[in-house]
Every structure is written in C-alpha cells, then in structure tokens.
Symmetry: D2
C-alpha cells in the first residue's frame, strides 16, 4: 500500500502517518517527490483499514499495491485448477458444456430436455428448482419437487446436475442432488450463503453479479476458498450497462482477464449475457474463441411456453447445431470438446 500525502502536508503530518503505520507492526518507507511525499507500507496490509489512514491529516490518497484476494490469485498459484465432474475435467484443455432449461417446470419437459442435450453433446444438466424472480407475481420454481425431478433426470440421462441454491438452509439438501451448487448472480455477495457452500466442500459454480467487478467476483470466490473448498469455477453472465439492445452486456474481456488473474476455471453463460436466443450462438462461439473453459446454455423444447426465460432459450435442434459449431471453433483455437461421459443413457442409482 502506498500512502500519497497532499502537496502541502507538513513534515509532522508525514511523521504521524508513519507512526500510525508502524503501530500496526508494518514498515514504512519515505519517497519524497518534487510536489509531495509518498509513504510505502511494507508488510501485509490486507487487514489494515485503509479508510482510517485516509482520515489522517495530510493524507491525499491510499493506493493499494497488493490485490485484496490471495487464494484465488494466480500470482500465488500459477497453475490452472482443474477438477473432475463425473468424469469430465473442468479447467483443462477441453471445453465443457452445461445445458438445460432455465427452471425445472415438469417431469416430462425436464427428462426430454436432459436426453436431448445429452444426445447433442452436453456434459452436464442445468435446471433451477429455486428461481429468484424480480416480480413476486411470476413463477418461483418447484422447490423440493424440482430437486426430486433433477435427481431423476440425473439417473435417466447420466448427466451431472448443476442447480442453484438460494439459501444457506437448503445447502445440505441441494447438495444431495446437485453435483455442482450454483450461486446465482443476485447472491454473489450473499456472504452467509458463500460461507455455507464453502463449508459444504461441494463443487461450486459462482456467477458474477450483474454489476460486480472482476475483483469483487474474485473476493467472493475467496470466501468459498477460505473454507479450503478448492472446487470453484466462475461464470461470466453479462453485466449491467447503459446499453439496452440486449438484456445484459456480455463482458467478454472479463474472460481473458480472469484467466490472467486467477487459476480457477471460467465459463460463459451466453443465454443470460444476451437475454435473447438470436444472439446466444454467436456469443457462445465468441466465448470459446476468447478462451472460456466452458459454456452454460439454456435449452427448452418449447421456448414460447417456458415459464421463465423462454426468450433466451434455444430449441434442442438449434442447440445441437451449436455444439457442432462450438467444436469447430474449439479446434480452431487448439482446444476441443470434452468427451461425453461414456455410460448410462439411464442411471437409476448414483
């Protein structure tokens, strides 16, 4: 951390700041410029409250030098984290595709979709049993019944399940069914929930909040990692900007930025990041070209009858065609598609 003094700070003010820093057990360096003095803090200042220093007389600005996250940082963990998801490796050379309906709506629709995405080449099944909705007047998910249907879909299709958990109380129950606990964008800074999924030691898919910075996303990952739960992967799903021609703005830059700053796998959700099925395929291909480790895509057999997010859902046949195009782009950037788990068309146990 560097403490920038204002141009007319007195020598006494500088000394007071240095004294304060040393009182925290940290070292301090002077650096006298022509206009002003800068004080470098030596030692790990992560726990030090930057703001309190800002209030000392003569201080103009505080400049953090160390990034505020550590466990998520590639600087201290240079190698990519990879982990297996039911036989498929996430974070490796090969692209992983998670697909399925926005919400679990009914047994038949879920099983139909599960089989369709499996056949098309998906590696995992998504589907929400609990749905956060802006309006209290719209469909909120099937809850427990949805979880049971997901368990059945897992048995039938053999695909691992990715589903959202919205409440710390539900973590244990959702983890019985889900192979991956998803933290939705609205809950990215629900710290009670982050602690709960961290403690569960279950794989976690952490979606970026729609107005969270890359740094904040990594800080939220840090909450989970601080429970020594290493199986975390991140998802870019669009941010909120002034542009309204799509529901969100895909922050495609965030993918290579994240890959540079963290060792955790990073995937893209083009369904939410565009909000419009017409643009999903193009953005999915962009995600693969840019270096994402996977895609999460909404698929629905009959989007115009979907209870939520129909507009951004692909029909199974479009999804199948997209998988083929994803493979071509993946190969063009020296990657490939992960092989679809060899076994069960049907899997009654677990």
């Amino acid at each position: 951390m560097m403490i920038v003094m204002s141009a007319n700070a007195t020598r006494q003010q500088v000394d007071d700041v240095v004294g304060r820093v040393q009182a925290f057990g940290l070292g301090a360096h002077y650096s006298q410029g022509i206009e002003r003095c800068v004080i470098g803090v030596v030692g790990d200042g992560r726990a030090l409250d930057r703001e309190s220093l800002l209030l000392l007389p003569g201080v103009d600005r505080i400049v953090p030098i160390t990034r505020p996250y550590k466990l998520a940082s590639r600087e201290f963990h240079p190698h990519d984290t990879t982990f297996a998801l039911d036989g498929v490796t996430l974070g490796g050379r090969e692209i992983v595709i998670i697909a399925g309906p926005c919400a679990v709506e009914s047994r038949s629709l879920l099983l139909e979709t599960a089989c369709a995405v499996r056949e098309a080449g998906a590696h995992a099944l998504r589907g929400g049993a609990f749905k956060p909705r802006t309006s209290p007047y719209t469909f909120q998910g099937l809850g427990e019944e949805g979880l049971e249907l997901l368990a059945e879909a897992r048995a039938v299709s053999g695909l691992p399940i990715v589903t959202e958990v919205m409440d710390g109380e539900h973590v244990a129950r959702v983890a019985e069914v889900a192979d991956v606990l998803q933290i939705g964008a609205r809950n990215m800074q629900n710290y009670a929930l982050l602690h709960a999924v961290g403690a569960s030691q279950h794989p976690v898919l952490l979606k970026r909040g729609m107005s969270a910075t890359v740094e904040e996303l990594l800080m939220s990952a840090e909450y989970i990692l601080s429970h020594d739960n290493q199986r975390v992967f991140l998802c870019e799903r669009g941010i909120r900007t002034f542009e309204t021609s799509t529901r969100n703005t895909t922050d495609i830059n965030a993918i290579p930025v994240l890959k540079a700053q963290t060792h955790l796998p990073v995937i893209l959700d083009p369904s939410h990041s565009t909000g419009n099925w017409e643009f999903v395929a193009a953005i999915a291909l962009a995600g693969v070209a840019v270096g994402a480790d996977g895609l999460m895509i909404e698929v629905h057999p009959n989007p115009s009858a979907a209870l939520s997010d129909g507009l951004q859902s692909l029909k199974p046949e479009r999804f199948a065609s997209l998988v083929t195009r994803v493979r071509a782009v993946a190969e063009a950037v020296q990657r490939g598609l992960a092989p679809v788990p060899a076994t069960p068309v049907r899997r009654s146990g677990g």
Copy 2:
C-alpha cells in the same frame, strides 16, 4: 401490453398472436399502422410471460403498458403512507434523521454515539450487528453480542433501533431488538429474505441495490407489501456508475421519481452514496432540498479508528452542526425536523 409486429409480418402471424392472447383469457385489439400492426392486450397481463409472446413468428417487440408493481404504486394508492416509529412519524411533513455507527464495535463506543446523536437531534439509532463485507479478511460484525448492545443502547438513549438483517433465520431474533429491519443493498433481491421480513410484520427499511433500477426497487418492495406488511420505507444509497471520484453516485433524481411513483416514504443515505465524509453534509442538504423524508447518516466518535466505513463517518460535532443546517434547509422547503422523542425511557449511562 402492446405487441408490436414486425413490418413484414403476415396476416396469419397476426392472427396466431391474437389467438395466443385470447387463450390466456385476455382481450386483443388490432391497430394497423402504415408500416406495421400493433396488438393491444386488454386485461391484467402481469402474470403472462412476455417473453413467450416474443418468440411467436412475426412479433418484433413487446411494450409493457402496466407497471409491474401494484401495491407500491401511487397510481392505485394516491395518498402518502406514513407510520409511527416510536412516536416519530415517517413519511409526513417532517424530516426524520437516523444516525449512528456503521457497525456496532463496542459497548462504550455505541453508547457514546447513541447519546451524542440523540443530543444532536437524531430520531433513531443505526448500527450493524451483522456486516456484509466484500473481503472475508475484514471485520464482519459482532453478531448476537451486537444485538444485545443495541438493545442496551435503545434503553439508554430512548432511540428506536434500525439494524440490518442478512439472513431469514435471524429475522425473528433481530426483530426482538430492532424497531426497523434493514435490508441492505446487496440483499435487495434476496427474495427469501424479503419474504421473511414481509411476514414478520415489522417495519422494514429497504435499501436500493447499487445497480438496481427504481423499478426493481419497487418490485422488491412489492415482495414485502405482498405480505400485507405496509410499514416499508425506501432508501437511496448511491448507484454504481463509471464515475470513480466518489464511491457511489448519489442518484438524487431517484428521490422525486420515487415520490411520484410510490406512496412509500423515501430517505437518503449520503454516507454510502458518497463514501466520503467530506461530501456527506452537502449531499444530506441536497437530499432534504429535493424532497427526501429522512436521512440516514453514519456517525463515529473516532472515524480514523473505525472498524468499517470510517472514511464516510461524521464526528459527532460535525453531525450536530449538520442537523442545524438540515433544519434550515427543511424549513426553506416548507418542511421541518421531526421533534426528538421527549423522554429517554431510562438513561443509565451517558
């Protein structure tokens, strides 16, 4: 809702859309323009999934006509909602001031601050027992111990307590101590929590999420109101924009906009909306001039030693001077300051 057909939609496509609308038990009007046809939907389309209609062939856009919230809307509830908070009326002609530390840090600091803000003219005491923090490495609040200290501060100062609840499980316990349950900005769309505070029938202060629109804030209020809990008030606390010279951008426009669209009281938190004590007083005065029903201000006896948000906290003497200035501006806009509750229930400390 108006359904705008694309310029080259066929007659058959128009008929199909009308059929779909009618299947929902709603009426449909044609309106044939020169370039295209628009179909008006007659009836309450709030439950209808707009997106599914968008997917029908020939549909270009859907334009909502009815606002998505109803209970919060002034259109159906033209008179201002007011309610008493321990003898002080919120939402009426007089301005209400809520003040106190960001977090409850210790018994002595809390009691000292409570008495100081009471003396200066505050009407309620704020202070967090549970603190959501971006970093897992910083102070997270005293939790249960903090609640006990708040109860004591209430007894000593006679001020009603406003404190944040972060988890549905804690609502009952927090409501024993708090006169107002605060929903923080990060939890504005934590729907499980909104349902829980709605059901509690306790007064609720709902803070706007830092990237939530005015409409989304009102939708979240709708969740609480849908439990027939009428005692809800809203707080503008700054939004996230590209500007970085202050921590957030005070959306001062939101205050008159909210006053026009809803009957609920609206207050301003200039401490969070600026993030810098130097600007708090100016923004507080702006809030009063613009028509806010109250202010929520962070006060700390020793900001440079605060465990959180020290930078945006006022010292008690600055706060006292601000109250005087608030009164002057309130009177200039034909309002005033609510009278401070006459007697502390009991005053053991001080």
Copy 3:
C-alpha cells in the same frame, strides 16, 4: 508516479525500469516491500507516457500520483475564481441563474421568454442557435438567424447571452453575440473546438460530457485554460447510467467534488440532468443546497409546442415560482441570489 513491479520481477528488471525513468531526466526511488518492489518517480511525469513503462518486463502496474491537470487544480490555485458577467459575479457567494429556451425558435418566442425570465429574476439568457440533435430528421436550430435574434434579445432584455458554439469556424461570429460561449456535452472532448474557444479569450461554459468523468471534465477545462483564458465555468448536466426513469442521472456528488478539486465556478443544469420538467425544480433546489454556484434552466412559454426539449422546459410562471424557492434555499445555506442587473440596456420591444 509509482511503478509497481510484479511479485516475481527480477533485480535486473527493476534496474532496467529505473534506467528508463532516469533516461527521461527523472529521479527514481526504490521501495522494497515484502512481496514486491515499488519504484517512485521523482519529477514531473505528466509528459511521460505511462503506458510505455507498463510494457517493460516485470512491471505490474503504474499508479499516477500527480493529477493530470494543473491549471484547473485547486491544489495550485486555492482561491475561488470569480468573474463578472455583465455586472453579475459568477463563482462568488451569490447564486446566478441562466434561463431561456432550449433553442431559439422565433423572434416573438425568444423575446417573450427573455423578458419573462428577466422579470422572474434570471441573470442571463440561454438559447441555442446551433443545436446538436441525435436524429438528422429533427430541428437543427436557426443558425445565423438565431444569432441575430439573440443579439436583439440581449438589447431588449439587458440580459447577457449564453449560447452554444459547435464548430471552430463559428467561434468568432458567435462571440460577437454571446457573452458566454457554451461547449455542449457532446463536444466536451472536441479538442479543436476547445482550443478555439480558449484562444478567443471569451468566457466559456464547459458542459460535462454525459459519460465523462470529473477528471476528464477538468482535463478539457485545462485545454481552455492553457490559452490563458481564465474565464471558464463548468456545468454538471447529468451522466449516462443504467437507470432509465430519468433521461440522465444528475451526478449531484460531482458538484462538491468539483468544488474541492478546482477553483473554477460550477453550475448545475437540472433540465438536462433530469429530462423531465416535473423533476427540474426539486433538482434545482438540491443543486443550490449542495453548493452549486448557479443554475441553468430551460424555460419555454408553451412547452408542448417547443421544437426541442419541450418535456424538460418550465413554463415562465413555474420558473418564477422556482426562483423564489431557490432564494429560500440559497439563504438557508448562507448564500443568496445575485441581484438582477438594474436596468435593461434598452427595451425597444416587449
């Protein structure tokens, strides 16, 4: 400027960076932390290209210490700049009000508005002869004819004229009529134009671009000031954010921030910053309470027939009532309204 080396930079890389800095005639200080080394640059690095240093091996980040503007900075010019505008002082204790139509539309409307705003208490007349419009299909201003009408309005009302100049070629001609040359938001970074108005030695009203930071606004002021033209004042007119309930988001924080960072006068344009007459008065009062040195307000005798910006224009009687309320708030914050110039220079029409 501080150059932050990455955690694993080698000693040789550090030396190379120091060598590069010294090659620019600047000094360099080492500051070795636990994780990494920081190099402080001593001397005026404003002309140094920061980016080139970033490309040197081992460099992680560059942190500017000196602000990039100097002439506009209060740090080197602590006293408020004030200057006279036809007998009215701008930037002093008293609030100045500039009012008039968005665009000059016709002789009668302009003269009627000029007289009405003068009578209500305005100190200067605004009105565009050249109008930047998003669509090529809408009214673009009367051009030269508009300038002539402004000259007449000046003669009739005695009010100084504020009008926009959009093109370097027009500066001389506009300056014959205008007392203040206005640079519109869309031209805030039209550097050719900034040079031209700077060179004119005419007073300049520089409006903030709708997505310009406070720092960029001050950098644009610096262009004008670099011509030794000291009569510059700044105008907050709303920024673009994700919120759509008003046309722009008034960045009310920017006013005290600017007052802290620069000695130049700062005014607020609540007409553009809200885009809706219903909110103009409330935001104008907020601007006065927050410390603005003036207001710029659109007034039109018949807003629903206005050729541009009718929605955000006040009728003369509403404007007159607002002036009264502005005076009350100005007095509540220990300021006042500047006196209206005593006599119209001449009043041939009316």
Copy 4:
C-alpha cells in the same frame, strides 16, 4: 407511436390528444384496456416531437414503434451492403484486417509498420495524423506531415489508408490521402463533421462513441447516409462501464445486434476495446467468431517507445501470429480471410 394515457385520464383528455395527432396529419386509433386507454398513431411520426405530446394532460408515456433510423435499417434494406476497398471487399464473406500504429510518429516507423502488417496479411493500413488526446500535455499527432507520410506509406505498401479526420475543414485534404475517413469515438455525435464526411462521398469508418447506444450509432450513420453516401461501415471499440480491469468493455453483443439491425458492415477494434495488448488477440478471435466483418488492430514495432497507446499495440510478430489464428477461426465459422491485394502499386522504399 403509441400514446399511453394515465389510468385516470378523462375522456376529454383522450379526445384532445387525438385532436393533436390529427392536426399533424396523422391517424389515431383508440385501444381501451381495463385500466387505461392507449392511442395508436398511424403514419410516419418521425418528425413529430414526441415530447410535446407527453406534456398534454392525461398522457402517461409515449412508446415509439418505428425505429428512428431508416436508411441504416435492415428492415427496409434486407441485403448486406458490401463495397470494395482497393480490391478488397468489405462486408462480404471474408474478413478484412486493418492494422497499423495508433499515430503516425515518424517516416521510418510508419513504413516499417506498413510493410510488416502487409506481409503478415493485413488489407489496409491505419495510422492517425490527427490525434484526439484527453490531456493537452501529450502528443497530438503530426498533422499535415502525418498525411504526407501516410501517402508515402500507401505508395510503398500498396495498402489502402484508414485515417481519422477530426474537423470539417480537413475533410477534403484528408480525403486526398485516405481511402477511408475515420470518425473517432469522441466525434460520433459531432454532427457538423458527420455531414461533412457524408457530403464527401468518400468511404467512412464510423466508430461507436464510448457511451453511445447501438441505436445512437445507427442514428449517426443515418447522418452520413442521408447524403446518399452508401459506403459506411461501423466499428465497435468498447464502451464505458463500471468495470475497470480493462480500459473499456468490449460490447461483443453489439456485433450480432448490429448485424441484425443494419445492412452496413461491422468491424471490431480489440485494441481500444481492451486497452491492453495482452487481451487483444483473444478479443480479436472472439470478434471473428461472433460475426464481425473485419478487425482493426494497433501494431507498433516498439510499443514501449510509442507516443500513444503503446500499451494496446501488438508487436509485428505477435500480429503475424494473430493473423494465422484469425484465419483458423474464420474458417471454423465458414468465413475466411480476404486475399491480400496481389501487388503493391509501387514500392519505392522499404
């Protein structure tokens, strides 16, 4: 256009609005819903001032139905516009690459870069003679001398020239040298300049303003097209958002959105949209995968000595490697790279 009346509008108010619409020579349809009435306007309302209608009593909102641009719209011009640039076709199946230094800095650097990018496979040379810079203290371009060097580089390399024009006065002179006149992001709404380049009948590259919506970009294109100048192509170059980990946020969604809404060619500038050479290649590949018709990339033989934008410039060898990767991705999405013009027109230097 639909005029939405408020829930409690009277019959008289509705009639008055209809009367007003008819007075403009337009038709009006009633559509009575349960809560409110909506009036459909029949006819081309582009010239009608929407705002004036909003001010009529009882009007709640105006909903535009027709998009505000026409010439740029794919709705009325379904086929892709393509045009030749010195033998290379823009807007067709094949990707076009424009590359070169940010600014023309010296003869030797320009010629070296021109030859390098040509050899690597670029189809056109970019380079600024006039540079808009935020700070008046930094390099502003070589001006006329820069134009002469560009002319020489054209002769030597055989590559067509793309260069920025910042001022209407310079259009004729720049058009002597440039094959394409570039309008920079800061000038996207400099309407005087748009008219000037439109009238020139020269090909124009219109860059999106950093906070312009897709619709505003198309409105600016409309200014140029309204001069019957059809050779316009658009460039996404990143928008301003809250995220600061890259200089701008590449709005990758904008590319398929633009391709759906307009017939004009669309390219991506990954150098500006990231501001960091480390991410340029990844974003360039994303741009090709998503459907851009071309790329514009900054290349500099010695980025750390560049006078501007060094940080985002690729070295020639990295650029050459990127071209190879671009070709692979282009082929994966059923496109290709345009062939490089067979012979330099003349090669005097080199």
